[in-house]
């Protein structure tokens, strides 16, 4: 047993950290079978354990764990690929490009990321500084991005700022001129999938002195961001917001995060005309923080149904090639990423998946008491030390490696040389809804 440390607290943390790391290795080996109380319809025990293996090894499991689909009975879990016969797959040695551009407009900064995903906004306060650091380190390692969420970011992330998206949300928490002027991408969060129609919530227990200082608020007081931006009631107002960012930082790309109402397609087109480079649509089944159960389940549509709607409308409007469409809210696996892209997204934004890689069991107790017992969604000074940022960055990085490996395998099996060729290829999918099998057509 390790349990090193000067103080008793340090030794206790070291003991539990070591035991947790052992457990993250032991459970996916199935030496104890699957934990009987783990998992749900969307994130099954198999998916959670498979994510742990990938975070450990950088490769998908080979011991029979299902790592592609959950048991939700619809959406991604009812979609499968129409792979080519084995003989027509692209050869192993053939290079498969998984990169995507984040600016499709003919002007402004050209940013490419080598994998079609970046990290979702999770605020300082909703997650610990250690987790923010781990995500930022992994983003730098992969030359992609992580989002600050609504709440700014602490100094420890400054060295990674070229890989941190600064989020501007309705509460304006943590938004400063310098974090905007540093940011390669500034993200406006108009709405979020887990709480459509509601602002962000940070409960009082998590608003520590440091978090409150960053947010310029009062410690230990719950923070409820308003909804919506009270300065935006039209696309023209929306453009004013974007102009404001561009005035501070003309080089920045602008991302707009919206939820999935019935008119999400029109919202996307409006955002494009307001000047956004990236439109992130956030489906209702995702989310990492505390949210009313009624909102998560019942308000706005799941991402699987929103992507083709938005993609189709952007195509019809003739602007699809000038805007980047990112999908989030319930993306769990490499297969989900590939399916989202086939439905019409350029790429995906990952939140919960990264937390699962760091040990999240999806127990849904993020907001309770001291916060996450695994040290993820907490600001508790002891619990947050359970995650060492270096260890966390390695886990996320391994997961990315596994996802890229799988994505390449999928593309190879479809005869595609680039992930960009997959975009909008619904004809490569089969939907097995409850009423039977259906083969959708492509949207070009």
């Amino acid at each position: 047993m390790r349990a090193h440390g000067k103080t008793t607290e340090e030794r206790i943390i070291a003991k539990h950290q070591e035991a947790l790391h052992r457990g993250f290795q032991a459970w996916p080996s199935l030496a104890y079978d699957r934990p009987p109380a783990m998992g749900d319809a969307r994130w099954t025990a198999d998916l959670i354990l498979a994510t742990w293996i990938q975070a450990e090894t950088g490769r998908p499991p080979t011991n029979g764990l299902e790592y592609k689909m959950g048991h939700s009975g619809g959406g991604f879990d009812a979609l499968t690929f129409k792979f080519l016969p084995g003989g027509r797959w692209l050869p192993e040695q053939e290079a498969i490009d998984t990169s995507i551009p984040l600016n499709r407009r003919p002007y402004d900064r050209d940013i490419q990321i080598p994998v079609p995903w970046y990290g979702a906004g999770m605020s300082y306060g909703s997650i610990s500084e250690q987790i923010m650091l781990a995500r930022a380190k992994a983003a730098r390692q992969w030359d992609t991005f992580t989002s600050s969420g609504e709440g700014g970011y602490p100094e420890s992330l400054f060295p990674y700022r070229e890989h941190v998206i600064t989020q501007v949300a309705t509460g304006m928490f943590g938004v400063r001129e310098e974090t905007i002027s540093w940011a390669p991408i500034v993200e406006f969060k108009y709405a979020q999938g887990a709480k459509p129609g509601l602002g962000g919530h940070l409960l009082g227990d998590k608003t520590t002195v440091a978090v409150a200082k960053m947010r310029e608020s009062v410690p230990w007081v719950s923070l409820f961001s308003p909804f919506p931006f009270h300065s935006v009631y039209s696309v023209e107002d929306h453009k004013k917001h974007i102009d404001w960012i561009k005035a501070i930082h003309p080089e920045a790309l602008v991302a707009v995060k919206v939820s999935t109402p019935t008119d999400v397609d029109m919202v996307a087109v409006g955002s494009y005309y307001a000047g956004a480079h990236i439109i992130q649509i956030d489906g209702s089944y995702g989310g990492t923080g505390a949210a009313p159960e009624i909102a998560k389940k019942n308000i706005a549509m799941p991402i699987e149904l929103a992507i083709p709607k938005v993609h189709r409308f952007l195509v019809q409007e003739g602007i699809r090639e000038e805007v980047v469409l990112m999908a989030s809210g319930g993306i769990r696996t490499a297969d989900d990423i590939a399916k989202a892209i086939a439905l019409g997204a350029d790429g995906c934004v990952l939140g919960t998946t990264e937390l699962v890689a760091l040990g999240c069991t999806r127990c849904s107790n993020c907001e309770r008491g001291r916060g996450c017992p695994f040290g993820l969604t907490t600001t508790d000074p002891q619990l947050s030390q359970l995650v060492d940022p270096e260890w966390g960055a390695e886990r996320i990085s391994h997961l990315y490696a596994s996802f890229q490996l799988q994505l390449r395998a999928i593309l190879r099996s479809l005869g595609l040389r680039s992930v960009q060729e997959l975009r909008g290829r619904r004809d490569l999918l089969i939907y097995r809804g409850k009423e039977g099998r259906h083969e959708p057509a492509a949207i070009h």
Binding site: P196, Y285, A290, P292, E293, P302, R362, N365
Partner: protein, 497 residues
């Protein structure tokens, strides 16, 4: 006509310009209790919540099984490796106190386990967490154990259930689960109701709503005013039959309805036997119970005829000229036919699982609403519906489909910790057994439930961007049906799933 009347409750604040007559009366507001409608008395509608802990302890959600000899061996081994560092060796993985007894894992406190699995992740060979099969026996085939848990939480605390880590259930589903409500984000003004930044009204009007009024040369209304009342929440209390016969239970439901300012639907025999009286009490009268009617010594604001009968309906209208006469019929009844015969207020019923004539209530509500819209009479009619409405989210969904208000039944019983003895399907034969209840506790539980459901309704209304629940009725353009979205997403134009 009486002097100028202003609604005293913010929830029903949109009244007649000039306010010369009480077209809509708020129920049992203090001004009405005194028989006088005073003017301009402001009162913002609010349901007082207070913790009302469960009186029957729930079985723990999880079982914590510890291999005790392995645990002891591990502690000894750790003590040896850590050179007797007791605080470290005895430090426990659970932050919720499951191992907080002096003997730690030898006697775990299962009732505190939240299923985070940290203990079993750390020590897989020593501790395992299992879902408790006892807990899985709560409810029936419609009201799932997790639904029971949610209702109990709402009744216990009055709060909106909030959890982390996204949605955990199936993708869409049957019945109400196949419908999502809309939200607005950039281009429409949305209201923040739940945190009180803007007021959203949950009041609904129940009664006859003529398309127009007749005025004489002096501007006075000609003829009697149509009877109309406003409830402060769009849910009424419709007691299961065995509750309505219980001397212990009935006063709880009736008093809670009074305090929430809604209506309690009570069989007339129970109204008489238990001497219930007040504007919150709606006597329900079946033809077979007609004899009880003579013993009703007061005039209710609404009476309900259980089952359609022309003569009985006319008789009720004659006996209670100032009251609303509502007709309770199965939800698959052709309401337009009854509207043509003069009925304006309906209580449409299905069984407790939400079926009438083998069709689910959602489809039946849509059909009834649409039929009235097409006939051009929807605005004159009030539709209250019940059956299969067991969760907070079902209220806005039923209203979106076309109801003005819903009537709650099984959810109220669950809030009072009733146990299901088999399937709870038939309102007449529902086998629900209740614990021994204290009236004040029971009233508070129902108030808490109502407050939680109202707040959740505000969440939905705020997201949709509506300032009053009345406007939600029949707004199917502000909801999304799974089958439509799937067809649009995954089918070629014109083809079916």
């Amino acid at each position: 006509m009486s002097s100028s009347v202003r609604f005293p409750v913010d929830n029903a604040f949109e009244q007649t310009p000039g306010g010369d007559f009480p077209l809509v009366r708020p129920l049992d507001s203090p001004v009405l209790e005194h028989g006088v409608l005073s003017s301009n008395v402001y009162r913002r509608y609010h349901i007082e919540t207070q913790d009302a802990p469960d009186i029957v302890p729930l079985p723990p959600k999880f079982q914590v099984k510890v291999k005790k000899h392995r645990l002891l061996a591990m502690v000894v081994k750790e003590l040896f490796e850590l050179k007797g560092d007791l605080p470290v060796a005895l430090s426990r993985p659970c932050i919720y106190g499951v191992f907080s007894r002096p003997v730690g894992g030898l006697a775990p406190r299962e009732e505190l386990c939240v299923g985070c699995l940290r203990c079993t992740v750390q020590f897989p060979g020593i501790v395992q967490i299992y879902p408790n099969p006892e807990r899985r026996r709560l409810g029936d085939s419609l009201v799932r154990p997790e639904d029971v848990e949610t209702i109990l939480y709402e009744a216990r605390s009055g709060r909106v259930p909030v959890r982390g880590a996204g949605y955990r259930g199936p993708f869409g589903g049957e019945g109400w689960d196949g419908l999502w409500t809309d939200m607005s984000e950039i281009v429409r003004p949305t209201r923040d109701g739940i945190h009180g930044r803007e007021f959203i009204s949950t009041a609904v009007d129940i009664g006859e709503k003529p398309a127009f009024l007749h005025f004489d040369a002096h501007g006075e209304i000609v003829g009697p005013l149509p009877p109309m009342i406003a409830t402060q929440v769009p849910f009424l209390f419709d007691m299961p039959v065995n509750v309505a016969r219980s001397k212990a239970l009935l006063p709880i439901f009736a008093e809670a309805a009074r305090q929430i300012e809604t209506l309690a639907l009570v069989p007339i025999a129970s109204v008489i036997q238990f001497s219930l009286e007040g504007q919150h009490v709606v006597p329900v009268i079946a033809k077979s119970m007609w004899g009880w009617l003579d013993r009703l010594s007061w005039s209710p604001c609404m009476v309900m005829l259980d089952g359609w009968d022309r003569e009985c309906y006319d008789e009720l209208r004659r006996r209670f000229p100032g009251s609303i006469v509502c007709v309770r019929v199965p939800m698959d009844t052709d309401v337009l036919e009854l509207v043509q015969q003069g009925v304006r207020v309906f209580h449409l019923t299905a069984n407790y699982h939400g079926y009438a004539g083998n069709r689910f209530v959602m489809d039946l509500i849509l059909q009834a609403h649409q039929r009235l819209v097409e006939a051009g009479v929807r605005e004159e009619v009030t539709l209250v519906g019940s059956g299969g409405i067991i969760m907070a989210e079902h209220v806005p969904k039923a209203i979106i489909c076309g109801l003005d208000a819903v009537a709650l039944d099984v959810a109220l019983a669950v809030a009072l910790q009733a146990r299901f003895n088999g399937e709870c399907l038939d309102p007449e034969a529902a086998a629900l057994s209740f614990p021994r209840l204290d009236t004040a506790w029971g009233v508070q539980r129902l108030k808490n439930l109502a407050a939680s459901w109202r707040d959740q309704l505000l969440e939905v209304l705020g997201a949709v961007g509506l300032r009053e629940v009345r406007r939600l009725r029949g707004e199917i353009g502000r909801c999304m049906f799974q089958k439509d979205l799937e067809r649009e997403a995954f089918c070629e134009q014109g083809s079916e799933l």
